[in-house]
């Protein structure tokens, strides 16, 4: 009798494990469904020397969203990485060096504004000291566009667990505008649009299978920017 009970328990656990493994396998396959589209528009020649630097700044003057600090840092990392040998000045260091002229309230929105800023001797000198050649303005955000499903968890004296399934869609939409400090022109614009669905199956333990939407947008946009800025076209 005891042996039968033990076997029944084993079979139930095996079934549960099988369901969990199937859900995990399905989710792993589906979690890869992130699509990234990059569009580039070139308006001028680019190129950078070893003594010149790039700064990547986030646009933060819109009221309903804010370009994330970590995304801007990630783009900077992508541009300077991969043995590209490109010097990228961190956003905070640049903003501190030029305080209060690159705060959300005061940062130039158009090139004319930058031109006016450079009329101030102190500002022009500081930018020259920093060796800035290009300023990359990143504008956009990652948002959750939809979510569905539910997961219920409970805990009791004999243990606890969760059961259910949750899914959500994220979308990253970013635009990078590249200003050339030397020639005071906009040399190009690059757009990144990434979409992806994340899943969370929960059979006893919830297993988050996240679509790396923001990370993919960063990688795509960063790589494109690196190739755009370091291209050997004459400047």
């Amino acid at each position: 009798m005891n042996r039968k009970l033990y076997l029944n328990k084993r079979i139930r656990w095996l079934k549960l494990s099988l369901v969990a493994l199937t859900a995990m396998a399905a989710a792993v396959v589906l979690a890869g469904c992130t699509t990234t589209t990059i569009n580039e528009m070139r308006q001028g020649y680019t190129g950078i020397t070893k003594s010149e630097s790039i700064v990547v700044l986030g646009r933060r003057h819109k009221s309903d969203y804010e370009t994330e600090l970590d995304f801007v840092q990630c783009i900077g990392g992508e541009i300077s990485g991969q043995k590209a040998n490109v010097s990228v000045i961190p956003e905070q260091e640049f903003a501190d060096n030029l305080y209060p002229w690159f705060e959300p309230r005061t940062a130039p929105v158009h090139l004319e504004g930058l031109n006016n800023l450079l009329q101030r001797e102190q500002i022009a000198e500081r930018i020259t000291e920093l060796g800035i050649r290009y300023i990359v303005w990143v504008d956009g955000s990652t948002e959750r566009t939809s979510s569905a499903g539910s997961i219920a968890c409970s805990i009791g004296p004999g243990g606890g667990g969760c059961l259910g399934f949750g899914t959500w869609d994220d979308e990253s939409l970013y635009e990078a505008s590249i200003w050339d400090f030397k020639n005071l022109t906009t040399v190009g614009k690059i757009k990144a649009d990434a979409k992806g669905t994340s899943y969370m199956p929960a059979v006893v333990v919830p297993i988050p299978l996240l679509a790396r939407v923001k990370a993919n947008a960063c990688k795509g946009l960063g790589e494109q920017l690196r190739s755009f800025l370091t291209s050997s076209e004459e400047s």
Binding site: R105, G113, I123
Partner: protein
């Protein structure tokens, strides 16, 4: 055993105490043209220890302390903005005037904040409204003008409410500095006072000795106003 129970109880009580935000911001030296003015600076006790508290059924209990950070901000700002500053522990009076062009005393008029739950957006926001009071060297009120500041920070994974609100408050304080620096010579009543003060300085030999460029200051001020206005229009 008793220690463990006590620790758990204390942790639970702290958990029930609401959100406590101590704003600890450090601010860079501003890149501005110095005003040839010797300015006294007075911070009241209330300003130095400013702590905004709110008990709200929907929002919860919050305590946001900006006192030390705002003193640090204005100290850094004024030290670069004016050719000389003098910290005052009390406002001057008729019987005890001091040798300055004027005394500047900032006050917090209002602080507000929102959390993502309230606005259904994914950002934390902080607004601060300062009243900048200007007194004569003998402590007589001359004029005052408002400085508004706004800061926001997006909600982020693994970032607590405290951290997000502190970050938004630091952005707001930086914005207050930016607003002060770019609007100082654009407030009409302040502009008139500045012109009078700088012209007075140009004609006064003793002030001329302290500020050798004060005879050029009025022209410099006009140029600075024109440049700032042009820049902010873009």
């Amino acid at each position: 055993m008793m220690h463990t129970i006590l620790f758990i109880l204390v942790a639970l009580l702290i958990g029930c105490g609401g959100t406590v935000v101590h704003v600890d911001g450090h601010f860079p030296d501003p890149l501005v043209e110095q005003m040839p003015l010797k300015m006294g600076v007075y911070y009241s006790e209330e300003f130095r220890n400013y702590n905004y508290e709110i008990e709200d059924k929907k929002k919860g209990n919050y305590s946001i302390s900006t006192g030390s950070s705002q003193v640090r901000l204005f100290d850094t700002l004024f030290a670069q903005f004016f050719s000389e500053t003098r910290q005052l522990s009390v406002l001057p009076s008729n019987s005890a005037p001091i040798k300055v062009n004027a005394v500047l005393a900032p006050e917090v008029e209002e602080l507000q904040f929102t959390i993502p739950r309230e606005t259904r957006s994914q950002i934390f926001e902080v607004w601060v409204k300062y009243k900048m009071r200007l007194y004569s060297a003998a402590g007589a009120p001359l004029l005052n003008w408002p400085i508004t500041a706004y800061g926001k920070t997006p909600k982020a994974f693994m970032k607590s409410r405290e951290e997000a609100l502190e970050q938004a408050a630091i952005v707001a304080l930086r914005d207050a500095g930016a607003n002060f620096a770019t609007s100082f010579n654009r407030v009409p009543k302040l502009r008139r006072w500045l012109n009078d003060e700088l012209n007075k300085g140009a004609g006064d030999m003793s002030t001329e000795a302290v500020y050798p460029h004060s005879n050029k200051a009025a022209a410099m001020l006009d140029q600075s106003i024109a440049e700032t206005e042009k820049m902010l229009r873009e």
